[in-house]
């Protein structure tokens, strides 16, 4: 979706301001939100692409005005309600009124914490030979899906060069819609800064994205 989360190349957000001696969490609730997202994901209530899609689907004014963990919280609550794990009335009341649904991997307990400290595996077996190889010129397709995609707007329609392939991985555009993993070849594609930002931009800049094969066409 062409959401406000797709920020690459936007102007007007001001300077980057680093906070000296930044704490890992600014309030206790931030740490609880992180833990709930990790636990419910690990228990199988959703996958990472769904959770990104729900955050992207927050209203743009809410997205921009909310802190990072506030977005995580709002996205988590919306997603668990939409997927039927909790009821809106339950969160409003602050108590469960019905028993829980079955989770794919069961209740999240202490003995599973070790497992989630390592990222999940996204590599899959190839379904078809790779269409592109390092050195190929490719164009990022001019597509505008209404659902989740990892093809940022700022590269669409532009020509770059395949630099390396990362094998075949879960395709977020499918997984986010609960439409299966639909694994696809993944490539690093590098663009000249001037191709993306015009002839007056800094010619010493190159930008790469990691692009799934359906995002690309031969150029």
């Amino acid at each position: 979706m062409n959401g406000v989360h797709d920020m690459g190349g936007m102007d007007g957000f001001g300077k980057v301001e680093a906070e000296p001696n930044e704490p890992m969490f600014h309030t206790r609730w931030e740490s609880r939100v992180l833990a709930m997202v990790r636990a419910m994901g690990a228990a199988g209530a959703f996958n990472i692409d769904m959770s990104r899609f729900f955050r992207e689907s927050l209203r743009p004014d809410v997205y921009l005005a909310s802190s990072y963990y506030k977005k995580w919280f709002l996205g988590l609550e919306d997603m668990l309600i939409a997927r039927g794990f909790i009821g809106k009335a339950e969160v409003e009341k602050g108590h469960a009124s019905e028993p829980g649904k079955t989770l794919k991997r069961g209740k999240f307990t202490v003995d599973q914490v070790e497992r989630i400290m390592v990222r999940g595996k996204f590599g899959r077996d190839a379904q078809a030979p790779a269409k592109f190889k390092a050195g190929d010129k490719v164009r990022a397709r001019n597509i505008h899906p209404l659902t989740h995609t990892r093809l940022p707007r700022y590269v669409r329609g532009h020509v770059g060069v395949v630099e390396r392939d990362h094998g075949v991985q879960v395709f977020p555009d499918s997984a986010a819609n609960d439409a299966g993993e639909n694994p696809q070849w993944l490539y690093t594609v590098v663009f000249d800064g001037t191709e993306l930002w015009g002839p007056d931009s800094d010619a010493s800049v190159k930008i790469s994205i990691d692009a799934f094969e359906p995002y690309l066409e031969k150029a």
């Binding site: 301001e17 680093a18 206790r28 802190s67 999240f108 190159k206």
Partner: protein
């Protein structure tokens, strides 16, 4: 997705009434998830503790320091960072598709996630707020030198700046250049010079003898 009508116009949740409202809502959700039998609150405590104690940029600094002293390790790291990092006993297990990119006198690498906040947690810890916020995400791909200037950093005009937008489940770690004047230093001494920002590409390692 409406109904979140208490959000204010500013970027942080520093307003006390909103803070307590969010706090209450987070607590309510945790209670509901617990009562429905989805999570054990003790497991949530353990997750938070693991993030607070087990991951952080010191893991990445150890990787960089080893690469600076051991050419065979550096070669392996650039070929397959996940595999190479796994051979270091003192660094936590690492997920698949970690990619180390090397700074050289002709190329400076910078990492961003324009779409969300993808970041190599196992080697750098949780990302700082600025990495996840709009100013960095919007400008890093269009005006990387301007972003570097915000950090007080400048890279020579004839050095190529390569920005890696983390749009998939690949994760990137910058291997910064080893500071001059560190010949004969131990891995532990070198690791002290490796800053988090130098591994994101928004900074350089500390110089030997510079105040820490």
């Amino acid at each position: 997705m409406s109904g979140h009508h208490h959000d204010h116009d500013h970027h942080h949740d520093h307003d006390h009434s909103e803070l307590s409202e969010t706090q209450l809502r987070v607590r309510a959700l945790e209670t509901v998830l617990t009562e429905k039998g989805y999570v054990d609150p003790k497991a949530l405590d353990a997750i938070v503790e693991a993030y607070e104690t087990k991951i952080g940029p010191r893991n990445g600094a150890a990787v960089v320091a080893r690469a600076w002293v051991d050419p065979a390790f550096k070669k392996a790291l650039l070929a397959d960072a996940t595999k190479a990092v796994a051979t270091l006993g003192h660094v936590a297990r690492t997920g698949d598709h970690l990619i180390a990119v090397e700074n050289t006198p002709t190329t400076h690498n910078m990492i961003v996630c324009t779409l969300c906040s993808c970041y190599p947690w196992e080697v750098l810890g949780l990302p700082p707020v600025w990495y996840k916020a709009a100013p960095y995400r919007s400008r890093a791909v269009k005006d990387p030198r301007g972003v570097l200037a915000d950090f007080g950093v400048s890279v020579p005009r004839d050095t190529e700046i390569r920005v890696w937008d983390s749009t998939a489940e690949t994760r990137f770690l910058v291997l910064p250049m080893r500071p001059a004047g560190t010949e004969g230093w131990s891995e532990d001494q070198l690791a002290e010079l490796v800053t988090r920002d130098s591994m994101i590409g928004t900074g350089f390692p500390k110089q030997p003898g510079a105040p820490s």
